[in-house]
Symmetry: D2
Subunit: 341 residues, 4 copies
C-alpha cells in the first residue's frame, strides 16, 4: 500500500505518518521527489491501515501496492493513455514513425535527412547529440551544437524532435531543444536519471535495456511516473541472446505482453534489433502487425560514412519505399497514418 | 569442396577417389547415405583438384564447400524452392496455415478440431501421436492409434497431415499416415534422425531447436538434404532467453535472415513462442508481416482440459477470428490465401 | 502419485488399475519400459487413492509424485549414490579424472594419449567413435574401429573407457566395448535414447544440454532411471549465453544446485565450456573447489592437427602439470585422488 | 592511434592537431577529461602520422589503438597491477575478502557485522548507503547517515570501507567516507559516472553489468582510466541467462579471460550470482581456485529481517566457517591471506 502525501507536506506530518505506520508493526519506505513524497507501507495486512492513514493530515490518497508498478499498470488504468506532442498523438489510432540518423553530424546531414523523412511521412526526427558509447575513444556526439541543429531542422520541417539524455545534469539543456527526451537502453536502470526525468514535464521515450525484463522496464517507467511525469512512451529495441546472426533479438512478444500490463504506448526500434539495414523493413512491418503504436528507425543520407551505426541505417530512398509498405500495412490492421507534412 | 559420387558407385572407385585426394595432401570426409556418397575434400587449395576429381570414375559432380550448407544455401540456389504436398504449395505466393491440437487425444477431439480449422481456412492439420516430453511420467502420445485418427481426419476434411517423428525406428510407420514429418525442436540436432528422414521422400517440417542458432538450423537442414530429401520446410518457434514473460522469445529476426541465406520455405510457430493463447494472434500477424510462408498454430476444442500445452492452445472460435485478420493482412503484403475447403 | 507395477504385470491387471483410477476421477499416464510399467495418477487429491491402489494385484509400490523426478531426487534418497565401474567409484570421496581426445583418430594417437593420461593420474579414458557433428560434411568418427581401439587402450593401460552413443541402434555395439556410455549434450532430450539406455545396465554419463535447465537435466536422468538403470553420472559442460569470449559459459553454480537436488554424482567438463585449452586448468580447479566429483578433459598429443576440438584440447605435458595442481587442490578440499596406475 | 595531449594543452594547439589529422584524410575523435585530452585518429593507415604528430606542440605521447582498451590491456602492460588501499593490496599475492551487509540499516547492525567479519579475517567492509533498486518504492538506503556509520565502523575495526556511488553528484560526498567507490552492475555503462569517477583518485570497484560482455567491462574500465584514475578492481558477479535455478549465472570463465586481457585485479561476488546463501561457500571456493584476487560477500547478523538481499546474505557464523575453508584453499593455490585483525 502506498500513501501519496500532499505536495509540500511538512516534515512534522511526515514524521507522524511514519511513526504511525511503524507503531502498527509495518515497515516504511519513503520515496522522495522534488514536490511529492510517497510512503510505502510494507508487510502483510497493510491494507487495514488504509482508512486511518487516509484521514491523517498530509496524506492525499492511498493506493494499493500490487502490481509493483501501480501507476503504469493497465490493471488500475484500463484505458490506454496517449502521449501528446503538440499535434502528434502517440498511443492513439495513428501509427507514428520517428526517423533520423544515429548521431547528428552536421547541418547538411541533419537537414537532408529531416527533409527526406518528413516527405516520406515520418512525424518526428531522431538524432543523437549526446551519445553513450562503449569506448571512451568513440565519437561522443556534438553536444549543444547538435541540439541546435535539431531545433533548426524542426523549424524547417515541422518534425518534432526526439533526442537522448545521458546524464541528469543535461536534462534542462536538452529539454530546451527537444520535444521528447529519450532514455537509452544503457540508462534504463539509471534510477537517478529516471527520477530526474520524472520531475520535469517533457515527454519521455524509455528504451528497454538490452537485458532487462519486461517487468524491469515497467518498474523503470514507474520511477518516471512516480516522480511526476506521466508522458512516457516505451520502446522495445531488441534483447541480448545467444543468437548473433542479428545485433540483438527483437522481442516481438514483448509488445502484446506490454499492452496487457500497461496503459502506456509502445513502439518498436527495428534498427538496433537488426543491426543491418537489409532486415529493418521486415521487422518494421512485423512491429506494425503485432500492434506497436509506432516505429523509430535509423536513416542516414550516406550510411557508409556515418560516424556510428552506419551498418544499420537505411538510405533515404529505402526509407521512403518502406514507408509506402508501412502505410498499406497500417491500413490493413486498422490504423491510420498521419498525413504527410 | 565436395565430390558427389554416382549412385551405387562401387567401393573400388570410392577407394581410388579417397586415395587420390589423400595423396594430394588433403583430408577426406565421407558422408554415406542409403544411395549416395559425398566426399568432402578438406584443406586450403582443395579447389585445384576439382578438374581431375570430376574426371574420375564414380564422381557425379563437384560442389564448392562454402557456405557450410551448400545444398540449402540461397547463394548457390537463388530461386526460392517450393515444397508441394499434393495441391498445397509451401513457399509459393500463398500463405499456408497448419493448425491442430498439441496431441491427438481422441476421435471426437481430432474430428472437432479438423472440421473447425478446415472451415476457418487452414490447409493442414497438426497433432502429435508421438510426443517428446520432458518428464517420463507425462503423456507420451497415442502412438499408432493417433496416426490412424489423423488419417481419418484427413479423409473427412481434405486437410493434409503434419505429425512428429521422435525416433528413427518410427519413420516408416509415421510416413504411412502423414503427409509431412515434423522434426521437433529437441531433435533438431539428432543427426541420425535427420539423415534417416533425408533417406525417404515424405516432406519434412524442421523446427529450430530452442537453443540452436540460425546457422545450426541450416546445417540440420543440410543433413536432411545431403541424405537425399530436398522437401524441407523450416520453422522458427521461439528461442530460450532470459525473458520469462513468455514461454520462449519468438526470434522474428530469424525469418528475414533465413530468407537471405536459404531457398527453403520458412514458417512461424507463434504458439510455442507465446506459451499463452492470448498473445498468439499478434505474433501470428507479425509472422505474416515479416514474410513467413506460413503459420503452425495450436488449437483445441477445450484447451483447459488438454493433456498438454493447453495454456497456449487457441479455442476454435478464436482461431476462426484470427484467420479473418490473417487473410486481410496476407492480402496487404501481397500474399494469397488458399480458398477455404 | 506413481504406482510402480510388478515386473510382468499382466495386461488384465493393468487395465483394472487404470479403470480404477479413472473411475475415481483422475487422469492416468502410463510409462512403459521393457520390464516395468509406471502408472502416473494425475489430479488434485490423488494421494487418497494410495492405500487402495497399493493393495491391488500387480502394484508393487506407490511413490509420491513431487518433485517431478522422484527417482533421482535427493529429497527421497538423502544419501549420495556412488557409481562403481569395476574398482573405480564415482561419487565417493575420490576425485575421478576422465581424459582423452575428442575423437579416436588412430591407434597411435589413442595409445599415446592413454599412456600419458594414465601416467598423469587419470582413471578413465574418453574418446569419440561416433561423433555428433553440426555439419554432415564433418568427420563423424571411426565407428566400430574406434571402439576397438578404445578397448585395446584399456587392455594396455587399465583405464576404463567412456564413449558416446548417438543413437539407440548403436547401444548394444558400444556397450560391448565401453565401460560408461556417454549421452552428449545434443541428445540430452532424445527421450527414446534415454529410455533405451535405461533399459540396459552399463553406467551412463549424461551431459547437460547447452541450453537445458538444471530441472530438465534431472528429468532426463529420471528417464534413464525410470527405465531401470540407476548408474548415472551427471556432467555440467557449459551453457549457451550471450557471452562469446568463451565457447560456452561454465555454469559452476549448477554443481551445488545439483548436489542439493539429486543424490547422483556430478562432474565438470571444463574443455567444452572453455573452448580454448589455455583456460581449462583454472576451470578444472574451480570444478574441484566447488565440489564436483570429477572432471572430464580433452587431451591430444598434437592438438593443432586434431580432426575436431583441437583448440580446446590440452597437450600431454600441460595435462600432467594440471594434474599436479588438481591433486594438491583435491587434498585441500578433503578429497582423495586415486593412486596413479 | 591515440594522441595523448599535454595537461593544459591550449585550445590553439588542439585545433592545429585536429586540423593536421583531418587534413591528412583521417577522422578525429576527441575525448576530454578534466585535465587531459585524448585525440583518436581514425582510419586505415593512421600509424603513418605517428612521428609527425608526436612532434607537434601539445602532444605528450602516441599510443596504438588496438586493443580498443589500450590502458587496461595486459598486452601493453604485461605486469599485473596492484591497487593499494592503505596497507591492503588487491592484486598481489594475498587473497582479499570484502564482506558486509547489502545495505547499512543501523549502527547496531553495521557494528555487529563489522566486528564479526573483521574477526573472521575480512580486510574490507561493504555496505550500501545509496542503493539502486528496481522499484521506486523499495528502500533506497540511508544516504549520508549510512556513510557516517560505515566510517564509524572503520574506526572501530580497522576494516577499509567499500560502498556504492549511484550518481555523479554523490561522488565527492561518498569519497569523503569511503576507501573504495563501487560502481554497481546497473551503472557499468553509465559513461558519465565512469568518467567522473575517473577524474578523482579514490580506488574503484567496478562490477560487471549482468548483461555486459567481458569486452564491455574492459571498455568501461578504460573510461575510468582514460579519465585519470588507474586504481580499478574488476568484479564478476554473475550474468543473466536462461537458467533460473540461481539468481544469476556466475561466469567463472570470465576470471581467466580477464586475467589474460587486462593487468587489473579481478574479484568474485558469489552472493549476487547465487541469490541464496546456501551455495555461496562453494562458489566462493571456486572463485579462489580459479584465480580471483578476492571475494566480496554479503553477510548479515539476521538475514531474514534484512531490508534487501536477505536471502543471499550469510549469517555471521556461516561466514566465519567459510573463511576457514577459504584460508586452507588459498594456501593450496599458493596465495596468502592477510593476518586477521
Amino acid at each position: 500500500m502506498i500513501a501519496v502525501l500532499e505536495k509540500g507536506c511538512p516534515l512534522k506530518q511526515k514524521a507522524d505518518i511514519v511513526r504511525f505506520v511503524e507503531g502498527a508493526g509495518f515497515r516504511v519506505q519513503v520515496s522522495e521527489h522534488s514536490d511529492q513524497s510517497l510512503v510505502g507501507v510494507i508487510g502483510p495486512g497493510a491494507e487495514r491501515l488504509a482508512d486511518e492513514l487516509a484521514a491523517m493530515p498530509g496524506v492525499r490518497e492511498i493506493r494499493p501496492m500490487a502490481p509493483p508498478y501501480p501507476l503504469v499498470s493497465r490493471e488500475q488504468h484500463p484505458e490506454s493513455s496517449r502521449v501528446k506532442i503538440d499535434d502528434i498523438t502517440v498511443g492513439g489510432n495513428d501509427l507514428i514513425v520517428i526517423a533520423g540518423p544515429c548521431a547528428v553530424e552536421s547541418r547538411e546531414q541533419i537537414f537532408e535527412v529531416a527533409d527526406a523523412v518528413a516527405a516520406a511521412g515520418a512525424s518526428m526526427l531522431r538524432g543523437g547529440a549526446f551519445k553513450p558509447r562503449s569506448s571512451p575513444y568513440s565519437f561522443q556526439g556534438l553536444g549543444q551544437e547538435g541540439l541546435e541543429l535539431l531545433a533548426e531542422a524542426r523549424e524547417r520541417t515541422g518534425l518534432r524532435v526526439v533526442t537522448e539524455v545521458v546524464a541528469l545534469e543535461d536534462i534542462a539543456l536538452v529539454a530546451r531543444f527537444a520535444d521528447v527526451l529519450q532514455i537509452g537502453a544503457r540508462n534504463m536502470q539509471n534510477f537517478r536519471l529516471l527520477s530526474a526525468i520524472g520531475e520535469q514535464q517533457t515527454p519521455v521515450l524509455l528504451k528497454r535495456g538490452m537485458m532487462a525484463t519486461v517487468e524491469e522496464l515497467l518498474l523503470a517507467a514507474e520511477y518516471v511516473m512516480a516522480a511526476g511525469n506521466p508522458r512516457i512512451i516505451l520502446c522495445e529495441r531488441g534483447i541480448r541472446t545467444f543468437e548473433k546472426a542479428t545485433r540483438n533479438t527483437l522481442d516481438i512478444c514483448a509488445v502484446p505482453v506490454l499492452k496487457e500490463r500497461t496503459h502506456l504506448p509502445v513502439i518498436i526500434d527495428p534498427s538496433h534489433a537488426a543491426g543491418r539495414r537489409e532486415i529493418v523493413p521486415p521487422l518494421a512491418k512485423a512491429g506494425v502487425a503485432v500492434g506497436a503504436d509506432g516505429l523509430i528507425v535509423e536513416v542516414h543520407p550516406d550510411p557508409d560514412t556515418a560516424v556510428s551505426d552506419g551498418r544499420q541505417s537505411m538510405t533515404l530512398p529505402a526509407f521512403a519505399e518502406m514507408m509506402d509498405e508501412i502505410r498499406t500495412l497500417a491500413q490493413a490492421v486498422g490504423r491510420g497514418t498521419p498525413v504527410t507534412v
